[in-house]
Symmetry: C2
Subunit: 302 residues, 2 copies
């Protein structure tokens, strides 16, 4: 089993990148697309993000054997309802959302009787919208597939193969475990970045101009993440609340320990933490999950 | 007044980059260097980080009219004492440390009667050691000069001109204000990054292997900063304690507010914060303090 017609609902960074990646790696697969925003549809047509861009969601999925919802996780249920009238009974319904337990529930509720296999390609940039996507986004990235209990094995295998063909390595896990893993590798980092950028822009003792000028000391790295799509991230925190709060508690405990170390001048505690964190970086670079060049290669850019 | 012989004490990322930048931009200026580690001196000779590498600190500064201490801020006093026997009475003594109030005190104590003008080029990468430096590190970066009260104006002007010639823009401020500004633009970001990377590597519910695999969701950005030199950063937190604790309190207040918003499902509070942080990113990119390419240009690298 393999897919011959992929419908993409939502044509932002992820949806657009899927369309372009299919065109590059699976040229025989037909793509159709839809976005609720007419301006995005217009731009998607200009960039060719899908073979056909429909003006109606049900129309976009007609005849598709794989439908991928690429909308913020809070908009999944509504998007699923909107495509329902055009859905083929045999179609596999998937998505790219960053929280999986809530998405599994929303889709099961909106599309009873359909084959639903949620997934999450762990890939992205800080940019969003129909101009942000590019074909190589999923290369060398992981895609986590979270099939519900009793999911048909051949459908899961076909979805996994689809992502492999776009350049990803696939891992299967439960939605609950996915949500815990992503809370630490993605959601908490975003929460911290948004928060410190907010803190820095509202200080009394340091002006915003100074924060911008001297951002190369480390702060600028956080601003990249804090430039990510606001609605998408609001929805993540509304939909993965328990795991995020759990991980946030662990982080706050550790930060309190560091505060105590600074207050007491405990250099040994600092040195211990600051020395062990290098090993993780090394593994991430060795496993191809980040650029080995210093400063992410910024200096290679003149 | 301009300098004709620059002595560099400490030949890691910053010291090595100064040597290479002088060679490129000020080829008529003589450079000498020293590092307390014989292996670093050996490597510095191979890379030509300074015209001459001396095996004795006092020897390295003999005849120099500008001496730049490029050692961790906790090692400044000892390094200053070690060069004292060779110092010219007219020489300007400067440094590149990330905390300025403590450095001003250490240097004044170790070198009474000398002209001391501390400075801080806000530039760096996560790498360290004699192989890390490169000539363009200071291009388009700010260098903050923090002269003590009553400092000779021509010496301050000469130091400012030196940094401009290496490609930097110079700003003069008090050591106290510098320490407050850098606490938010550099020290707190490093503290947070070290802490979350530590938290993530010691979880019960998520393995270290999973954290590494799925790091592209945002976490990997923090690991870059958390790979910075451990001793240098321990010294920063030991030497800029008050400002760091002050800024950390502001951050913790804001993080607590976000925790409350997540717990209560207050999407509006999230949306407000997540929307305003984009503007800061835009300004940083517009002012040439970061790369405009998505994902720091990582995807341009194959």
């Amino acid at each position: 089993m393999s897919f011959s017609h992929v419908a993409i609902i939502g044509l932002g960074l992820l949806g657009g990148s899927i369309g372009l990646a299919v065109e590059e790696h699976l040229p025989d697969v037909k793509t159709t697309g839809y976005d609720a925003d007419p301006k995005v549809r217009e731009r998607a047509r200009q960039r060719g993000l899908a073979g056909t861009i429909a003006d109606d969601p049900a129309e976009a999925v007609r005849g598709a054997d794989l439908v991928i919802l690429c909308v913020p996780v809070g908009a999944m249920e509504e998007a699923a309802k909107a495509i329902a009238p055009g859905l083929d009974r045999q179609a596999v319904i998937s998505d790219v959302g960053s929280s999986k337990e809530s998405v599994a529930k929303s889709l099961a509720k909106a599309l009873p009787g359909h084959t639903i296999i949620p997934a999450h390609p762990v890939a992205g940039t800080e940019q969003s919208g129909p101009d942000a996507g590019f074909a190589s986004l999923f290369q060398q990235r992981w895609c986590i597939v979270t099939p519900p209990k009793g999911a048909q094995e051949d459908s899961v295998a076909a979805l996994a193969r689809f992502w492999q063909q776009l350049g990803s390595t696939v891992e299967v896990m439960t939605p609950e475990h996915h949500d815990m893993v992503l809370a630490v590798t993605s959601h908490i980092p975003h929460l911290i970045a948004y928060t410190i950028v907010g803190t820095a822009s509202d200080l009394e003792k340091v002006t915003r101009g100074e924060v911008i000028k001297y951002s190369a000391g480390g702060f600028r790295d956080f601003t990249r993440i804090a430039a990510s799509d606001a609605v998408m991230w609001r929805d993540v925190f509304l939909n993965n609340r328990e795991a995020v709060l759990d991980m946030l508690d662990s982080f706050l405990d550790d930060l309190e320990a560091m505060r105590r170390a600074i207050r007491k001048g405990n250099g040994e505690a600092m040195l211990e933490l600051f020395s062990k964190t290098r090993a993780i970086r090394r593994s991430i670079v060795e496993q191809g999950q980040d650029d080995a060049r210093p400063d992410f290669g910024r200096h290679d850019h003149g």
